[in-house]
C-alpha cells in the first residue's frame, strides 16, 4: 500500500472518528460498488444484458446516465474523426 493511500486512510479515520480498519472496509465496499456498476453498465452497453436487467441491478438513474454518456461519446468520436 502506498504512503499516499495510507495517509488518506488515516485522514479519513481522523475526520470521521472511525478506526482505519473500518475505513478500509468502507473503501473496499465503495470501490466494489463502482466496479460492479461499471461491469453491469458495460455489459448493457455492449448488448450483453437487457436494459430491464441493467436497471434491476444498478437502478434507472445509472442506466440513463450511461446511455446519455454513450450517446455523447459516440457523437464526440464521430466529430473527432470526421468533423
Amino acid at each position: 500500500m502506498t504512503k499516499a493511500l495510507l495517509d488518506q486512510i488515516e485522514e479519513v479515520a481522523r475526520l470521521t472518528r472511525e478506526d482505519s480498519a473500518q475505513v478500509i472496509t468502507e473503501a473496499l465496499a465503495a470501490g466494489m460498488a463502482k466496479l460492479y456498476a461499471d461491469a453491469v453498465l458495460g455489459a448493457f452497453l455492449r448488448g450483453k444484458i437487457s436494459r430491464r436487467h441493467a436497471i434491476k441491478r444498478v437502478g434507472l438513474e445509472a442506466v440513463r446516465q450511461a446511455e446519455r454518456q454513450a450517446r455523447a461519446v459516440r457523437d464526440d468520436v464521430k466529430w473527432g474523426l470526421n468533423g
Binding site: 456498476a37 461499471d38 453498465l41 458495460g42 455489459a43 452497453l45 455492449r46 446516465q65 450511461a66 446519455r68 454518456q69 454513450a70 455523447a72 461519446v73 459516440r74 457523437d75 464526440d76 468520436v77 466529430w79 473527432g80 474523426l81 468533423g83
Partner: protein, 160 residues
C-alpha cells in the same frame, strides 16, 4: 482553426491526464472569468492560449429560466457567450450543460472528442490518444463508464 468556449470540465480533466495542450487545437479558446476562477488550481493553465471574457448578468438573463435553474453559473456564462457568437464550439463534460446547449443549437463536445480530434489536428498520434483515453477512465475525475471509453478506443482504432 475552430473557435471554442471552454467549461471547467475539459480544463480540469485534460490537466489531470497531462494533456491540457490538446486545447491548443482551438483558436481562440475562450474561457469566461467565472470558469477561470473555478479552475484556479489547475496546473499548467499557462501552457495554453486563453482568451478571457467577462459575461454580464444581463447576457445570462437572456437564457431561459429552465436553463438558468438547471445549470451552474459557470456553465450559464459559457452558454450566454456562445449564444451571441455566430460559430463557436462549446466544450463541456457536463451532460446537462451539453444537452441544454444542443437544444439551443450550439455545437458541443467533451474531453473525449477533444482527444480524438487532436489526432486529426496532428497534436498527438493514435497510440498517445488511446493512452490518454485510458487515463481519462483511470486517473481523471471525469465520471464515465469504462466500457464507453473502450468503445471510443475501438472506434479510434478502426478509423483510418
Amino acid at each position: 482553426m475552430a473557435s471554442a468556449v471552454a467549461d471547467a470540465g475539459p480544463l480540469i480533466h485534460l490537466s489531470e491526464i497531462g494533456q491540457l495542450r490538446l486545447l491548443n487545437q482551438f483558436s481562440p479558446l475562450v474561457v469566461p472569468e467565472r470558469i477561470l476562477a473555478e479552475v484556479r488550481s489547475v496546473r499548467s493553465l499557462a501552457s495554453i492560449r486563453i482568451t478571457r471574457v467577462r459575461v454580464t448578468a444581463s447576457s445570462r438573463r437572456r437564457l431561459s429560466v429552465a436553463i438558468r435553474d438547471r445549470l451552474d453559473s459557470g456553465e450559464l456564462d459559457c452558454l450566454a457567450f456562445c449564444r451571441e457568437q455566430t460559430k463557436v464550439i462549446f466544450l463541456t463534460d457536463d451532460l446537462d450543460a451539453r444537452e441544454a446547449a444542443q437544444r439551443m443549437g450550439i455545437e458541443t463536445h467533451g474531453s473525449v472528442g477533444i482527444i480524438v480530434r487532436a489526432v486529426r489536428s496532428g497534436l498527438i498520434n493514435r497510440s498517445e490518444a488511446t493512452a490518454a483515453l485510458r487515463l481519462m477512465d483511470s486517473t481523471s475525475s471525469l465520471f464515465i463508464t469504462r466500457q464507453i471509453i473502450e468503445m471510443a478506443i475501438e472506434r479510434l482504432r478502426e478509423s483510418k
